[in-house]
Amino acid sequence: MLNYFKEIFVGIKSLLIGMKVTAFYGTKKTITAHYPFEKIPITPNFRGHIDLVVTKKGYHKCISCGMCERACPSGCITIEAVKPEGAKKKKLTGYTLDFTKCSLCGNCVETCPTSAIKYSNDYYLVGTSRHDFHFDLLARAMKAAEEMGIEWTEPVEKPKEPTEPQAEGGESPAPAGA
Amino acid sequence: MDITFSSDLSAYVAIADVTFIAFIAMTLAGGLVAILAKQLIHAVLGLIISLIGVAGLYAFLGNYFIASMQILIYVGAVSISMVFAVMLARPPEEVKQKSMRLATKIALGVIVGLFTAATVGSAVFAHRWSAAAKVTSGDTPVEIGIGLLTRNVLAFELISLVLLIAIIGSVVIAKRGRGTGKTVGGEEL
């Protein structure tokens, strides 16, 4: 009998304590960010999709070795490169990333021998079709260079080699990109 | 007893008449649904409509207390337990009866119903009902309550006894009908 009343008393008390907690937080400031108006600052370490690094000279560092392509478990990287007649190195003509398949493991970035790719900070990615996420990274790099105010210049090969026509190399990838 | 109104209330009386007819229509239509519906749940809903109509008639008779009790007890308790039983028992479609027997039954029902209606009706309408000589008390809940606990106290106690027995009995019946010693998880359900 005593237990019966004790339980009622303890129960009511516990309910009141719970209500006190919610009342306490009810009077405090809200902690949410109102998304379209406010944005939470994103950590610089954020791992977005990959991007080609734009050097100070205004070019990428990719040597078209294909390590990233092989390291990628999902096969989302496609590299197109040509070896111009007489040139020593391959020249990158297309670097496409199929972000719909990417699992953000980071293997490509870590295997790259020249650190030519990095994670982008592209947090607010939206698109209306899956084709919006087929990125042409070369075009993106050119655009990034433009935004940074650096002229996209292909480095001149060693002078003894006969040079290929310059203008074509830079513009070969499709202008429409991300 | 005659109910009269001052003549400037004619519109009010007309509206009241229309409402009254509406209540009668509810009562009768609900009753028809209750006895004719194929699905049992429709029959119960018809009964509920009929009961609400009767409650309206009680209100027209000037006794709001009984009207309220009608809704509270009949609609709130009896009908709901009926719907509940229908849901629990999930009775089969009633048309599965042999059509031959059903037809006889319907004919029998019509005959008995009409016969009763005719005999009782003739008796009712042959008599000219007149008001009682004098009114000794009102019809407020207070009066009814005093009546229940003084003049009708025996009936009142009997009714409460009957209700108690009904509750206990229904619990016992419904519990015993439940399965044949079916156990789940070591305890009998």
């Binding site: - | 007893m1 109910i3 009386v13 008449d17 009254f20 007819i21 009668i24 009768l28 009753g31 028809l32 209750a34 006895i35 049992l40 009929s50 008639l57 009680y58 027209f60 008779l61 009984i66 009790m69 007890i73 009949y74 308790a77 009896v78 009926m82 509940f84 039983a85 229908v86 028992a89 009775p91 009633e94 059903l102 029998l108 119903g113 009409l114 009763t116 009706g121 009712v124 009902w129 008001a131 004098k134 009114v135 000794t136 008390s137 009102g138 019809d139 009066e143 009814i144 005093i146 009546g147 229940l148 009714i159 027995i165 009995g169 229904s170 019946i173 419904a174 015993r176 439940r178 399965g179």
Partner: protein
């Protein structure tokens, strides 16, 4: 002074009560199910209650008697409904059917 066409007449109430009674009788005889029969009984009881109230209002010298009896009828109806429904549920549990005709085997 005017008189209402309908609701001031005891005959209207009595007629409605009578129709309810005959509806109930018809249902009680023609319907096979236990719950349908219960519904019909409720209709009959309502007819009775309406009669009580009509007489109470129009002709009774004591205005509480009819109301008291109607209350009693309601109480009885509730008790009866409780019992009938529990029987119906119990029978359904055992025999899987609740038609009154087929209950002759309920002797064990």
């Amino acid at each position: 002074m005017i008189q209402p066409t309908f609701f001031g007449n005891i005959e209207v109430y009595l007629l409605v009560a009578l129709i309810l009674l005959s509806f109930g009788l018809y249902g009680l005889i023609s319907r096979p199910g236990l719950i349908s029969m219960l519904i019909s009984v409720e209709l009959i009881l309502n007819g009775a209650g309406l009669n009580f109230m009509a007489f109470n209002t129009f002709t009774a010298p004591d205005k509480t008697e009819g109301a008291t009896f109607t209350l009693f009828v309601m109480g009885l109806a509730a008790a009866e409904a409780a019992i009938t429904l529990s029987i119906a549920v119990a029978i359904y549990r055992r025999f899987r059917l609740i038609t009154a005709d087929n209950l002759s085997g309920m002797k064990d």
